[in-house]
Symmetry: C2
Subunit: 209 residues, 2 copies
């Protein structure tokens, strides 16, 4: 069916991808825990038992989806970083823009994280929490490099990062609930920028005790 020979390993990888994609699609309006191996298999076009050649269980599949989705998350930070403006306003505008773009482009991944972060099986929740904690730590490190953060203690920087990450998660969730490219999306982006600015006004006036 596929043009060239398709070596064994290639074909296996292809099927694995199909399973991941199918699961993400089926998960779109249902939590992972309510997903059945047979549904996934049917969607992929393989027989139920074939599933086991790739994953030991649905939960295993979930962990693989987490890893994939966390890559999309990290890409946000990466893209934010590759703009070197030292100006708060510019950084904020850029960051929100990047977030909107990534949510648009990897809707499934962000929706998966948002859902399974609270509703997933324990190992899945843990993996997502770890990913977000890493994100938070890196954000704190970035903030420490910014001008004007010298009076901040390391602990306070972490607490601020936690707050910013929470706000970003909330923004991503709101973005997921509206149509891409809709006026509502623009509105959410605008409000997110305002919120970050409010936060930064507070941050620049803050003095750690």
């Amino acid at each position: 069916m596929t043009e060239p020979a398709a070596s064994r390993a290639e074909q296996k990888e292809r099927t694995r991808r199909a399973i991941l994609d199918a699961a993400l699609e089926l998960c779109d309006d249902t939590p992972l825990a309510a997903l059945s191996l047979r549904q996934v298999a049917k969607q992929v076009g393989i027989v139920p038992t074939g599933f086991y050649r790739h994953f030991a269980s649905i939960e295993d599949l979930g962990l693989a989806l987490v890893q994939e989705s966390l890559v999309s998350l990290r890409a946000v930070l990466r893209d934010v970083r590759q703009g070197g403006e030292p100006e708060y306003r510019a950084i904020i505008d850029r960051s929100v823009g990047v977030l909107v773009d990534h949510v648009r482009g990897r809707r499934g991944h962000f929706a998966f994280i948002a859902r399974e972060r609270t509703a997933g099986p324990e190992p899945v929740r843990e993996a997502i929490a770890d990913g977000l904690a890493l994100f938070e730590a890196e954000l704190a490190a970035d903030l420490a490099r910014l001008p004007g953060t010298s009076p901040w203690s390391a602990a306070d920087l972490r607490i601020l990062s936690n707050l910013i990450v929470s706000a970003m998660v909330a923004t991503a969730e709101r973005l997921l609930s509206v149509e891409p490219d809709s006026p509502a999306e623009t509105q959410i982006a605008h409000e997110a920028r305002t919120q970050l600015r409010m936060l930064m006004v507070g941050a620049t006036r803050w003095r750690s005790t």
Copy 2:
């Protein structure tokens, strides 16, 4: 089994409560969508078909649980309000204390909201979103009554409220992930107070454009 006569209506209400409680308990580590009518019935001690005398479906049960849980949510705002201190610091300390107490006392309800807010069936998600929006609006009204908010536009007050609610939801989620009365819980409460203070420093310096 129960001491007095137990009028028909009373007994029905009792069973209804048992169903709600059983569902909340079974939901503790699994989303509503992965809950089966038969599991609930077994836990309650009635036959599966008996379930239909009280709810038309699991989703219906979910909506009832949302209503109940939102009462617990509203109680937070009510208890915060019944302290008249006009001082930011005192208001913040009090608010976080109230939140911690309520999450401790109604763990199941808060966990249910946190989980189904993103993972529930569409009508359930919608009901929770409406409840949180109401909470946000009332918070904005409260903030408008506080001294020093005169330079704030109504829109900016709403945006600030949204940010505070997001932070509070995130705090509640963190509280749910640790033991009640543990050092970790104290730590989270401390960080939440700091975050609100950071926010308020920003808020008092803000000028709406």
